[in-house]
Amino acid sequence: MSSRVDLPIGMNRRHFISHLAGAAAMAAPATAFTNSLRANATDLKKRHKSAILLWMGGGPSTMDLWDLKPGAPTGGPFKQIATSADGIAICEHLPLMSKQMHHMSIVRSMSTREADHMRGRYSMHTGYVPNPNVEHPGYGSIIAHELAEQVADLEIPPFVSIGSGSVGPGFLGMTWAPFQVDSNGNVRNLDMGIDPGRLEQRLKMLATIENKFIAEKRGGSAEDHRKVLDKTVKLMTSKQMEAFKVMQEPKEAQEKYGSSGFGRGCLLARRLVEAGVPFIEVDLGGWDMHADIFPALADRKLPELDKAMSALVSDLADRGLLDDTAIVWMGEFSRTPTVNGGGGRDHWARSWSVVVGGADFNRGVVVGETSSDGKEVVTEPYASQDVMASVLKSLGLSLETTFTAKNGRPMKIANSGKVIKELFT
């Protein structure tokens, strides 16, 4: 099983010097790379599962996007439009997404208890409430960890966070920490700024010192260091780093996703899925609209979201990747049905929506219902851990797994959340 692209120049990858020659190989044009990727795409599809979390920082008003109440006093000015999924109507300002809804499903019966940004973010990412003595891992760390076998050949990190940092690996350890890049695919501190020959000299000297210390048998951490160094050098010199070069995508693709940071981030996410990365988180912030929410949504936020998200879903579908890629759209909570004095909505966790799609999820389904004013869930309510359990199931991962936290406490995966049954046949 390999996600490795055939090197155009036929280098022997194992030899140390050839790693450094990779710097020259990186100048290869994007089309060569993507062509080889397409050729491998069928292979990838059979072997790789991925998940993409579209994280809406600030708490998006889901009642104005996915669960509209036109005519209700709380309804706001937006109208709803029909979509490609029977019986599902969404906000008029998401016209492109409306054509993709046959790939997605909406859970309208979310009901959670954390309406504070930090706590909400933590609990939606981990399935747990913040606890002073345990650091729980977030989605990315868990899924990367569970798909570890799949990524044995992956030289780039298995959990990539595009935009601001995600929630960390907690007790799973730093191996599963998110690897942060900006939406242009830039990795901080990747380049030493010296020629490959000199880099080789430095690494040889480093190896001399490292191995001497290891040979003195003073303890395991000496070797642990060596392992992370090796991984880092592999990363720096890996051909797989090409996947991050989002700016090399053809113009049409860049335009389809939009020139916003989030648009490029979604395009980068697609590339990373193609490269075999099991988990990618893409950030879109600015949803914390306590004032003047409707113009902010209609004029700025929704068009940005619409373009990028619809491009991502359709692209993955077109390339045959959607059946192996779970998509999750959510924020830390939603916003009050009642509009406040400043024309905005405030934090609200009691009744809101999460959108999922791809992988083994049922498509074009609505789960649950809220009251006519949107203030209450009138069917079975679902919480963060239930979404997590469902995402894991959609990827074919076991819900029986139990981790052990640092204090010795057993931690069931997904905090024993229940699978949202309407999402699966």
């Binding site: 350890g173 000297m205 303890g219 951490s221």
Partner: protein, 601 residues
């Protein structure tokens, strides 16, 4: 022939023998290992005498395994040594040899003041032949000469313990906390007072001109009062009493004796306390004020101010303030005041809590365990803040004895530090031997301290050590420098909570951290061969090549390079075609990125 001769005798005595036990190993190896056939016959008697003389000097200069009797006249050190070695005997283990002088010096600088010794500092220590050089150095590190470094280091350590590494919490001012801690450690206030101030603080959490009543210690609790202060309860118990109560918030503890009522009875002590947001002008939170107010009780009777908690079966139970040892205090929820008739009523629950903590036998045990863990890599229990019958300590008499001594010395943290760092276990090498390699706590064994356990430097230590090694430490101090440090740290430390009091005994690095060390700005500056910089000075100094390489090693690793390393370094020079300073920059890069640099050994 040159490759088997040891270095010149004089060099060895000055540099190898005292600097590194490893130097003398080299010597032994050349004599004991069979020389190539014919060489022994061919090497002249002068050479053989030189070898033997070198051996002699090396073995005299190399510290032997410290004797049990070496306690510098300090009874607590003697006590530690006796206790530790009696456990060795019981376990059939033999301790490793002593750490080399340079190693011990580097270790003690890191552990007390949070940075490696400078080149001059380590050379001075190694060259010192006084029999009291260890206690002398320790006195200096704990004294006025290093007061700023000392305060900064322990501010870093205790900030992480008290408020974690998370920078996002708007209820907590990290600068306010740091200011309080810095002052406290500069003045070496006794630990019981530190605890009391942290537990009972009221006032404004940041130092601003708009607000009076700044008390940085308020930042300990200001961010922990959500949800009726359950975090305040858990953290206070954990840090100051070594009790893990957080599980018992919802149910009796599965494997220690903690009960749910005990959690809520402890929580009752925090019910008078509020963290109030104070604004000025705009809606953004400007500061937090921690206050104690009357607690009316959830039943509405402030004289008997109770709280209710829910059992798992849904039944509600009542709780009043009761300490973990069963001591009850007044149930009044009123804060202390005098009524019109002159009668004094009310009780300050947090003040009561602080006095109860102070007299608890758990309090000094918790701090001794934590400090022992700081210096020796592992406490007597794992984790260090989980004491109780369910988690018996590895050295119970030692823990109890030291706790008692600490209380008797009025909780003077510097005294406790002195006892630990002058002890025999702290003086041992980190090289395990055949006789003690099974003493490996990383495999889950209880530690026996037969050899020093490796530890990764904390991020702050790494930063300060990089500054020291590259002689960039003149820029230390002042706001500009503090900002730079914070920027570097926030990049380096992922705020993902993996270092809140965790054992740092496993290397905990991530790829982004290594990338920073490989290619980040600080390293680029450090390996900058520009005029007037450290490398420039070394390159243009009057030493020969070997001396320059030695200088780099001594600056960063407190030891001399081995012959193999010198050879490798010479190869670098050849590869750079005579660009001496470039080669030095490459060697320096490798040294600073090595496991040996980043690990406290």
């Amino acid at each position: 022939m040159d490759s088997v001769l040891p270095p010149r005798v004089e060099d060895m005595a000055m540099e190898c023998g005292q600097f590194s036990a490893e130097g003398s190993v080299m010597v032994w190896a050349t004599v004991i290992l069979p020389l190539p056939p014919g060489l022994l016959g061919r090497s002249c008697w002068l050479v053989r005498i030189a070898i033997l003389a070198g051996l002699f000097l090396a073995s005299v200069a190399r510290p032997a395994s410290p004797a049990e009797s070496e306690h510098f006249g300090i009874p607590q050190v003697k006590f530690i040594n006796e206790q530790i070695s009696s456990h060795w005997t019981d376990a059939g283990l033999k301790p490793s040899e002593a750490a080399a002088d340079g190693e011990w010096c580097r270790r003690v600088y890191l552990d007390i003041i949070g940075r490696i010794p400078s080149l001059d500092e380590v050379r001075a220590y190694v060259a010192d032949s006084s029999p009291t050089k260890r206690p002398d150095l320790v006195d200096r590190l704990l004294g006025d000469e290093f007061i700023d470094d000392y305060a900064r280091n322990w501010t870093d350590v205790w900030s992480t313990v008290l408020i974690g590494r998370d920078v996002g919490n708007e209820m907590v001012s990290r600068p306010g906390m740091r200011q309080y801690l810095r002052r406290s450690f500069s003045k070496n206030i006794p630990y019981d007072r530190l605890m009391e101030e942290l537990v009972t603080a009221t006032g404004v959490n940041t130092n601003r001109k708009e607000a009076d009543g700044f008390h940085g210690a308020a930042n300990f609790l200001s961010g922990k009062l959500d949800e009726n202060g359950v975090q305040a309860t858990a953290k206070t118990a954990q840090i100051f009493l070594g009790l893990q109560v957080q599980c018992t918030q919802c149910h009796n503890h599965p494997f220690n004796k903690g009960k749910q009522n005990q959690f809520w009875e402890l929580n009752a002590f925090f019910r008078q306390t509020r963290a109030l947001r104070r604004f000025s002008g705009t809606r953004d939170i400007q500061w937090i004020e921690l206050v104690d107010e009357d607690f009316p009780g959830e039943g509405g009777n402030a004289e008997e101010a109770e709280l209710y908690y829910e059992l798992r079966n849904g039944l509600m139970k009542v709780a009043y303030p009761v300490f973990v040892d069963g001591t009850e205090i007044s149930r009044s929820g009123y804060v202390p005041r005098t009524l019109e008739g002159g009668e004094g009523i009310g009780v300050n629950r947090r003040r009561e809590l602080a006095s109860l903590i102070k007299t608890s036998p758990l309090m000094p045990k918790a701090i001794v365990n934590r400090m022992w863990g700081h210096f020796l890599g592992y406490g007597f229990t794992r984790p260090v803040d989980d004491l109780g019958e369910h988690n018996p300590p590895s050295h119970p008499e030692l823990l109890d004895g030291l706790a008692e001594q600490f209380r008797q010395q009025s909780f003077d943290l510097k005294e406790l530090i002195r006892w630990i760092v002058l002890s025999r276990p702290y003086a041992l090498s980190s090289k395990a031997t055949k006789g003690n390699h099974r003493d490996d706590p990383a495999l889950g064994e209880k530690p026996k301290f037969t050899h020093f356990y490796l530890r990764q430097m904390r991020a702050e230590e790494l930063y300060e050590s990089l500054l020291t090694a590259t002689e960039a430490d003149q820029s230390r101090g002042g706001e500009e420098a503090a900002k730079k440090k914070d920027e570097w740290l926030s990049q380096f430390i992922t705020t993902f909570g993996t270092d809140e009091g965790d054992d740092a005994t496993a290397f905990n690095g991530s790829i982004p951290q290594v990338l920073m060390m490989f290619n980040g700005d600080l390293i680029k500056q450090a390996t900058n061969a520009g005029k007037g910089g450290f490398l420039d000075r070394v390159a243009n100094g009057s030493m020969k090549n070997a001396g320059k390489i030695t200088t780099l090693y001594q600056s960063a690793l407190a030891r001399n390079p081995s012959a193999k390393e010198v050879a490798a370094a010479n190869e670098m020079l050849v590869a750079r075609k005579g660009d001496a300073i470039g080669a030095l920059a490459d060697i320096w890069w490798a040294v600073l990125n090595s496991n040996e640099f980043i690990i406290n050994h």
